[in-house]
């Protein structure tokens, strides 16, 4: 069926069921159009970096998603489409918003696709939350760099990927996400007032993506969305404010008239009769607050209580249960495993009628719920504005009246009010007291200006980003810490999952697979450190573990580090499926206190330096056949990308040579042993089975290093030779800027002090190879390149070459090219597997 271009208003209506506000039309079709001029609504807008300053509840998410869909996948004119980035990266401060955004987006796309309003295959909608994504199609979004996609995630997940240190994912895949998230992307940062340092980091990244000396692919822009953003924070050292101010999308008069019922929604503010202070006992506070909640609750309506700390939310939830409220009661915060949280959250989001929901800041922003009664603890002004937005959101209680009650916090020490500060609470208190008895509608709040106190935040610098390009761990096995650029220092998390480690032998550890999203619970790093202390004190064999990719085992660990995934012995407890993370150490003797293992567990072993998952296709394959598949796949990826033609030849050369190192006799011997008698003649690329092994001293063998050395041995000095060598070496993410031997890697007896790195011994040979596109004579692999400085012939070292290459192309473009070769290899390998499965 042919695609009929329609006006944006119709497009929007088809997707959402509602007509667009004028501001939504301006975002999609250009600054001069309004929703009342349908003929003007067939145009497209320019995609530039800008601020979007729109009050809560007026459809910002729809505005953004549909503007991108309209311009990127609904326009029949290819040149119009190519002016918009291929990927929409939707970044949110909190996990609670991520699934909601994904569900809405999928619904809109489905409706548009049904009406044939989307060209070609509908874009993938992928969430990046840490832990393995289970859904098949979304799992490997990074192997389709040529296809439009919408990536939704929290700032932790997305900014860490943009900084080449993706949280909760295989470290060897970091550069792919780094390349794909810094090229051909529209970044949208939603609810920026809750993002802390993420705002400054996104501003710097936007600046780096536009540096003239760094190459990049495709258009890149950033949209910062908030009702209350301090735009001065976008003016960072490399991202100065334009002399005319930042381009900004705001409501205009026509929008205000259409949204009158929302902007003027009545919700009267009252100070609650109780105060929380240092003297208040936690259980007393919970009991008193529960009493207030039950008094104010209106039957058959939603009452939402927002407190500032998870522990207080848990206590209030338990107090309400004790007061007899056991049904239609839920607890929403961010310290849950996702399946446990989902049960609670369903009551809030999907439920209707009589409900009481106890929550933390996790529901502050963006969640599309509307309470009749909202009770909130004192919070900074920008948080309160968001919290009020969860009450009488659409004006539906305008006739009966909705209410907001606030609980005063009276503390003298900063630690008692963390994550907030005493001064920001004081500023908010002053405003709330002035508003007593008045409505706190968006219109009423619009006229109040509370200037946030200035906060010192570390700013990501260009040298930091350049350092982050290298993913090799330091000599102590550690990585650069990026948490300071992702979230404020006091609000950083680790991820924890629980396994059955009660077996005494190593086997119970070896059986633990990479965790899925459902198994992971986020915990503040300092709370987890306190729990590790308790474990250490108990000293009874229950431990926390982290995956050691070098040794390929779960290694016990006593230090909490941001972004790290920890495996906990389920007998250690620390978690209650109904309350979330509690930090309470379970009794070793009481099984009832242990943490139940999540219902759905992963089936993939964690990645390791020696692993070569792509080498085990279900059927033996020759090197020439696999290479041909990869080259074809790369051509298919390149066809729709408007990549400068200069890059095609190096990319294709890398694809042709990427696996020649597999011809190494030790590697062939291993593959042949596993391949069985029916394997084809010639050099194998895939064994088709498991079994066969390398000599122990070669256990770190990396065929891609052999391929890269062989390429250079035959092409050193030709144009782009170093680039091709890099792309070959980097095609598993395990050999990149430096070549070095791994701990315990020694040459075999008799080889003296010969150089050895990643299982390759200086002087190893590869046989003569000839197949389509590759002609290689018998080639000796020389590791002289791994030494510092220049060699006897004056040739630069591997490190010097790769640094020069990084500086010539810039880190974004180099990682992008790297991602293309890997995508071709991975999707060709996946297709090989599928073909075998089908036959």
């Amino acid at each position: 069926m042919t695609h009929e271009p329609s006006a944006f208003a119709e497009f929007f209506q088809q997707a959402t069921g509602n007509p667009p506000y004028a501001y939504q039309c301006r975002l999609a079709c250009g600054p001069d159009v309004g929703s009342d001029s349908p003929e003007a609504l067939t145009g497209t807008a320019a995609c530039r970096s800008q601020l979007i300053s729109i009050p809560t509840g007026l459809g910002k998410t729809a505005a953004v998603i549909l503007a991108w869909l309209w311009n990127r996948v609904a326009q029949p004119d290819g040149s119009a489409r190519s002016r918009w980035p291929r990927r929409l990266v939707y970044c949110l401060p909190m996990r609670t918003l991520v699934e909601q955004t994904r569900d809405e987006t999928r619904k809109w796309i489905e409706k548009l696709a049904r009406k044939n309003l989307i060209l070609g295959r509908p874009p993938r909608v992928v969430i990046l939350m840490g832990g393995e994504e289970l859904e098949g199609d979304a799992k490997d979004w990074d192997i389709y760099p040529e296809e439009p996609a919408i990536l939704i995630g929290t700032q932790d997940m997305l900014l860490s990927r943009a900084l080449n240190r993706g949280y909760g994912m295989s470290r060897y895949r970091w550069p792919m996400h780094f390349g794909l998230l810094n090229n051909d992307c529209l970044w949208v940062l939603d609810e920026t007032q809750l993002m802390g340092v993420g705002v400054e980091t996104s501003a710097q990244l936007d600046a780096f993506r536009h540096l003239v000396e760094w190459l990049r692919q495709g258009p890149c822009s950033t949209w910062w969305m908030s009702a209350t953003l301090e735009d001065s924070r976008l003016g960072t050292v490399d991202h100065p404010a334009p002399s005319t101010g930042w381009p900004c999308l705001r409501l205009e008069q026509t929008d205000r008239e259409t949204a009158k019922h929302r902007l003027g929604a009545i919700k009267r503010l009252h100070k609650a009769g109780l105060t929380l202070s240092k003297q208040t006992k936690p259980e007393h506070y919970a009991k008193e607050l529960a009493k207030v909640v039950l008094e104010l609750h209106v039957p058959d309506q939603l009452t939402l209580i927002i407190v500032n700390r998870v522990s207080r939310a848990q206590e209030l939830y338990q107090a309400l249960q004790k007061s007899g409220r056991t049904k239609k009661l839920s607890l929403v915060h961010s310290r849950f495993r996702s399946s446990d949280r989902q049960k609670h959250q369903d009551v809030l989001i999907s439920g209707t009628g009589d409900r009481i929901v106890v929550a933390t800041q996790a529901v502050e922003a963006g969640l599309d719920v509307s309470a009749r009664v909202l009770i909130t603890e004192l919070a900074p002004w920008s948080s309160l504005v968001q919290r009020f937005g969860r009450c009488n959101r659409g004006g539906e209680f305008n006739a009966d009246g909705a209410m907001v009650h606030w609980v005063n916090l009276d503390f003298e020490h900063a630690d008692d009010v963390a994550p907030y500060t005493l001064s920001e609470l004081q500023d908010a208190r002053v405003e709330l007291e002035k508003l007593e008895g008045h409505s706190v509608s968006p219109d009423a709040l619009g006229s109040i200006q509370v200037i946030p106190r200035s906060v010192i935040r570390p700013v990501l610098r260009r040298k930091d980003l350049i350092d982050l390009f290298d993913t090799t761990p330091d000599i102590a096995g550690q990585d650069l810490d990026i948490s300071r650029y992702v979230r404020e220092g006091v609000d950083t998390d680790v991820q924890v999952f629980w396994g059955d480690l009660s077996g005494t032998d190593q086997e119970s550890h070896d059986n633990i697979k990479e965790p899925t999203l459902d198994e992971l619970c986020r915990v503040a790093v300092w709370r987890f450190q306190a729990f590790l202390q308790k474990l250490k004190k108990a000293n009874d064999g229950r431990n926390a573990y982290v995956w050691d990719g070098l040794r390929e085992e779960w290694r016990s660990e006593t230090k909490a580090r941001t972004g790290t995934v920890y495996l906990l012995d389920r007998r250690a407890g620390g978690y209650d499926p109904e309350l979330g993370w509690t930090g309470e150490l379970a009794s070793l003797k009481k099984e009832g206190e242990w943490t139940p293992v999540a219902a759905v567990q992963g089936d993939r072993s964690p990645d390791a330096t020696t692993k070569d998952p792509l080498t085990w296709a279900g059927q033996a394959l020759t090197l020439s056949a696999h290479t041909e598949h990869v080259v074809e796949q790369l051509k298919a990826i390149l066809a729709p990308l408007a990549l400068a033609s200069d890059w095609h030849e190096p990319l294709l050369a890398a694809a042709r040579w990427h696996d020649v190192g597999k011809s190494h006799s030790a590697f062939q011997e291993m593959l042949r042993t596993a391949a069985g008698e029916t394997a084809p003649e010639g050099i194998l690329a895939k064994s088709g089975g498991r079994g066969g092994s390398l000599p122990r001293w070669r256990r770190h063998f990396r065929h891609e290093l052999a391929s890269a050395l062989a390429w250079l041995e035959n092409h050193d000095g030709v144009e782009n030779a170093d680039l091709v060598a890099y792309l070959i070496a980097a095609h598993h993410g395990k050999v990149r800027l430096s070549i070095r031997s791994l701990p315990e890697e020694e040459p075999p007896t008799g080889a003296g002090d010969a150089l050895i790195a990643r299982g390759i011994l200086d002087g190893d040979e590869l046989p003569e190879i000839a197949f389509d596109g590759v002609t290689m004579p018998r080639t000796t692999l020389r590791l002289e390149l791994m030494r510092m400085g220049t060699d006897a012939e004056g040739k630069a070292s591997w490190l010097a070459r790769m640094i020069a290459l990084r500086d010539r192309l810039g880190p974004f473009a180099l990682a992008y090219l790297e991602a293309l070769v890997r995508a071709a290899d991975m999707s060709a390998s996946a297709a090989e597997l599928n073909r075998i499965a089908e036959s």
């Binding site: 570390p458 610098r461 040298k463 948490s483 300071r484 404020e488 220092g489 950083t492 790093v525 450190q529």
Partner: protein, 240 residues
């Protein structure tokens, strides 16, 4: 690669440490500002520089072209960013010290050299001027009239603020002075705590002696010196 000349720098032996560091500094500025492919090594305790500069060209480069990296330490009292307190002629009978008025208006050698660079028109000092200007703006906006207190978070936070606004070249310097590490016991709400590089004391100082002020004083001296004297200082006191 144009590394036509190998010159021996006798004043840059591996020991004492200051000579070793001088060697690294010369390699850095030559490769950054003049001869990108420069390489160097030590041989029999002598420093050999491989670049496209011969001995004369190296001296000429240093005296006529070299642009100093803007190194500053505004977190130190002796950095040249803070005036000393005014003192009266009257002495406190209890301590015997001159009575202080509480008004900071007394110039020091350090403040004078900072002013001298800020007001100079030498194009080779333009990067220096820019960083001094930016730093003064920040300190003014904070109302910072004296060096930050070292007992709390102030000193570390000033480092973080400067790292956020200084140009890239000065950030390289700041990262030599201190590493900002995430720490559970950080005093700052940023969660970061500075760890000072031992080689540079507790932030580019050795007690009251401020390395950056010393560097600026020597720079202004050599920039102002008559030609013959400048060559003498560069060649015989430093390089060979």
């Amino acid at each position: 690669m144009r590394t036509n000349h190998t010159i021996t720098l006798g004043g840059c032996a591996p020991a004492p440490l200051s000579h070793y560091l001088k060697a690294l500094g010369i390699l850095r500025i030559v490769s950054e500002q003049k001869s990108r492919s420069a390489r160097a090594h030590w041989q029999r305790d002598q420093f050999l520089l491989l670049s496209d500069l011969d001995r004369k060209a190296l001296t000429t480069f240093l005296l006529d072209e070299y642009k100093p990296t803007p190194i500053l330490s505004p977190w130190n009292a002796g950095s040249g960013f803070y005036y000393q307190e005014e003192k009266l002629n009257k002495r406190d009978p209890a301590t015997g010290h001159k009575v202080k008025t509480g008004v900071r208006n007394q110039e020091t050698t350090a403040t004078r050299v900072v002013s001298e660079i800020l007001t100079s028109s030498n194009p080779r000092l333009s990067a220096y001027r820019q960083v001094i200007y930016q730093t003064k703006l920040l300190l003014d906006s904070k109302g910072q009239l004296s060096a930050p207190d070292t007992s709390g978070a102030d000193k570390g936070e000033l480092l973080i603020e400067l790292r956020s606004i200084w140009p890239d070249a000065a950030v390289e310097w700041l990262d030599c002075v201190a590493v900002l590490a995430s720490s559970h016991d950080a005093l700052s709400r940023t969660g970061l705590k500075p760890w000072y590089t031992t080689l540079l004391g507790s932030g580019a100082n050795d007690g009251n002696a401020d390395f950056t002020s010393n560097f600026m004083q020597r720079l202004t001296e050599i920039f102002a010196a008559p030609r013959e004297q400048a060559i003498e200082m560069a060649e015989h006191l430093c390089l060979w």
